[in-house]
Amino acid sequence: MKKLDLTRILPGGRRWVIAGPYLWLLVFFFMPFVMVAKISVSETFLGIPPYTAMFEWLDQTLNIRMTFSNYAWLLSDDLYIRAYWNSIKIAFNATVFCLLLGYPMAYAIAKAPSHLQTTWLLLVLLPSWTSFLIRVYAWMGLLGNNGVFNNFMIWIGLIDSPIQMLNTNFAVYIGVVYSYLPFMVLPLYANLVKHDNALLEAASDLGARKVTSFFRITLPLSVNGIIAGSMLVFIPVVGEYVIPELLGGAETLMIGKVLWQEFFNNRDWPVASALAVLMILLLIIPIMLFHRYQNKESGL
């Protein structure tokens, strides 16, 4: 008896177990990307759906119509390039902020007495179970010109007139760090809590002070957790739409927002698809990095 094997009872049972989830993901996760790729090389067309077919029977011959004009269009207008660049910049900075705040938090939880750890972790994760939308919305009330912060600062006499905070990049950073912080803390905690305390004792025994032990032992050993947490923040933030829409202003040019506008406001599905394809290409390396980490940490 080497492995639990359903084939013993159902001929081909194993195949059925694989086929179920495989087919679902193939049809509803993989196929959509093929569709996006396909439509990104078709032409805009006034109608329903608003793009031309790739294959057409004309005069009893198969015509394949492909165009890269959508990509050419994206690269010719610096609005799109700036949007990509801005998104990456904002996502990168926000990831650094999340790490700076999230690492000490994860460290504190991992070092807490074991009966407190679950409770502390729960405290960090609890907000992410309430609505994401509501949490972003909460900052609208705090940061607005007529918001809690401005009112408070005017009341104590710090300022005379409200400072513009809402609809700025500052508000976007606050919103992103606020929403994504738990995603940084969780993998870092999972990594840090596994560290063998004997290693730190050994370092101390060999003459290292606490600070040295942290930088020479703890930090290098938590690299996997840092990568996982950073990718969990960076990748989704690059494509973030809700936060720049609600908290950002005219200056906040992010690719998720541009894609949304192309799709819903301009109804230019091929250009929106091309934007999506480029975004995937941009994110493929971070996604693979994350996938490799997942493999390493969880054996998936």
Binding site: V36, P104, A108, L123, L133, I134, I287
Partner: protein, 278 residues
């Protein structure tokens, strides 16, 4: 080693907690504000809760969202359980790399990409197959199930990996068929993970606004879509009231499961102590 000393990380931890909970506390307080001008305090009132429950459109959206979340979570958990068995127990088969990629990618893939690609698929399918004829709750259910499968698989497979496989072997050895061994031994052992996977999927589905906006159709407005359209215009006291209710429900569920967990934990510790002394 020495307690009671100043610790930088613990200080930052509590600052972080304050950062996380402060804004929500403000939402709750201002939901009881009598004034229509949201940030101007005009005394305590529950008036906005009354208006919230009279908003037919919002209440309808709540019902639809709960329904979609329930079905998505349930489907996702079943598929996720199968996927976990595939990932953990069937270590080699053709296409495993693609399979594991399709499990992890949705965890980080930006919502707008999942949304647009799903919609394009549904449009193409409707064109060529005639199904789904109309977009709405069905398509949202499919979309939500798909990304929830990834989360469910991660949660369930981590439990399945820790499970001692000799438990199943013992069941087989004692005469249970593989199917029976699965339902009588494996399933009960991984049931905590299945419950948390379901809860996670449920909240994720209830929370999604971007993907649902892409794949929805006429008349199928979910709660987040409705909230989003109202919020875009600015802060409204009704949404404060709704937020307070959501925070309240989540806190009660979380608090009671925390209590339950602690009780089980204490019980186990006490039992272990008794066993050690006995």
């Amino acid at each position: 080693m020495r307690s009671g000393r100043f610790s930088l990380s613990v200080t930052i931890f509590w600052l972080g907690i304050f950062f996380l909970y402060g804004p929500m506390l403000m939402l709750i307080i201002y939901s009881f504000n009598a004034s229509r001008m949201v940030q101007v305090w005009a005394g305590w009132s529950t008036r906005w809760y009354g208006e919230l429950f009279q908003d037919q459109q919002l209440m309808g959206a709540v019902g639809r969202s709960l329904q979609i979340a329930f079905y998505s979570a349930s489907t996702a958990v079943v598929i996720g359980m199968l996927a976990s068995i595939v990932m953990i127990r069937f270590t080699r088969f053709r296409g495993r790399t693609l399979f594991s990629g399709m499990i992890t990618a949705p965890l980080v893939m930006p919502d707008v990409i999942i949304g647009i690609s799903m919609l394009l698929l549904f449009v193409a399918m409707a064109q060529s197959l005639g199904w789904p004829a109309q977009r709405g709750m069905l398509t949202i259910w499919i979309a939500h199930t798909t990304f929830c499968v990834a989360y469910s698989t991660v949660v369930i497979s981590s439990r399945l990996r820790e499970m001692d496989q000799s438990l199943e072997e013992a069941a087989l050895d004692l005469g249970a068929t593989p199917i029976k061994a699965f339902f009588l031994v494996t399933l009960p052992v991984i049931s905590p993970a299945i419950i948390s996977a379901w809860l996670l999927s449920f909240t994720l589905s209830l929370d999604d606004v971007v993907i649902a906006s892409f794949v929805t159709g006429p008349g199928a407005t979910t709660l987040p879509i409705e909230v989003f359209s109202q919020v875009k215009l600015g802060v409204t006291p009704k949404i404060n009231a709704l937020a307070t209710i959501i925070i309240g429900v989540v806190s009660i569920v979380a608090f009671s499961s925390w209590l339950l967990f602690r009780k089980i934990d204490q019980h186990n510790r006490a039992a272990a102590r008794m066993a050690a002394q006995g």
